[in-house]
Symmetry: C2
Subunit: 110 residues, 2 copies
DNA sequence: CAACAAGTTCGATCGCGATCGAACCCACGG
DNA sequence: CCGTGGGTTCGATCGCGATCGAACTTGTTG
């Protein structure tokens, strides 16, 4: 807490918070659950998706934890769509900070 | 042991073993020590460097462990240069499997 | 051939992160 | 104005991975 982090509780459109150091981004993407979340957002229209649509077989609290990690890595942000909370993938911001990384990871058909 | 892994003890030039799934590659790069190792190899001429030149403040056994992780992720391979063991970064193989990833990660001046 | 240097393997320890359940918050809809 | 659904926070547990030291392997050199 008391971080410089943009912890604003859904300020509408939080103007793309800064992307964290590579190390943090890599750690965030290294988890299978989170990578899947990122993939689903990337596939969604507007890179935005309902929280519940981003996971399948884990508890709500665990999912929320992963959301937080992704957010703190600067990969995603919160958005409110008609009163319903959504997670949005900051494609452009990440692409600007680490060009080529996301496309590469997302196309990883390994 | 008894894996399908190319555990060949320095066969001269192990013809670029296959790059592991994205998930594994990301996990390998997520560790600060390993990322630094990769950076040093990338900066070395021919992407090849003596093992001892790749780390600073950790034990030999720990370093060896990290070499193994990198190797099993398909990021590096062993080479023998005049009887001295070296680690070589498989730039081209990784670039072929995950184009843009390494350049992006290596230039991460975050 | 014997000694040594450089990596690897093995076994054990330790801390961090993934996970869960319960309690809490907040925005809507009756 | 109170109930309900969807996320978040909190506290505790558990397993995996990072680390180390010691023993082993191998290849080079005196």
């Amino acid at each position: 807490m008391a971080e410089t982090e943009a912890c604003s509780p859904v300020p509408g459109l939080a103007a793309t918070a800064a992307v964290a150091p590579v190390q943090v981004v890599l750690a965030a993407l290294a988890d299978p659950v989170r990578l899947e979340m990122v993939r689903r957002m990337a596939a969604a229209p507007g890179r935005t998706e309902r929280c519940a649509a981003l996971y399948d077989d884990i508890g709500k609290s665990t999912a929320s934890h992963h959301f937080k990690v992704l957010r703190e890595a600067g990969l995603t942000e919160r958005t409110s769509v008609g009163g319903v909370l959504h997670q949005r993938l900051c494609l452009d911001a990440v692409e600007a900070a680490l060009p080529g990384l996301l496309p590469s990871v997302l196309s990883g058909l390994d």
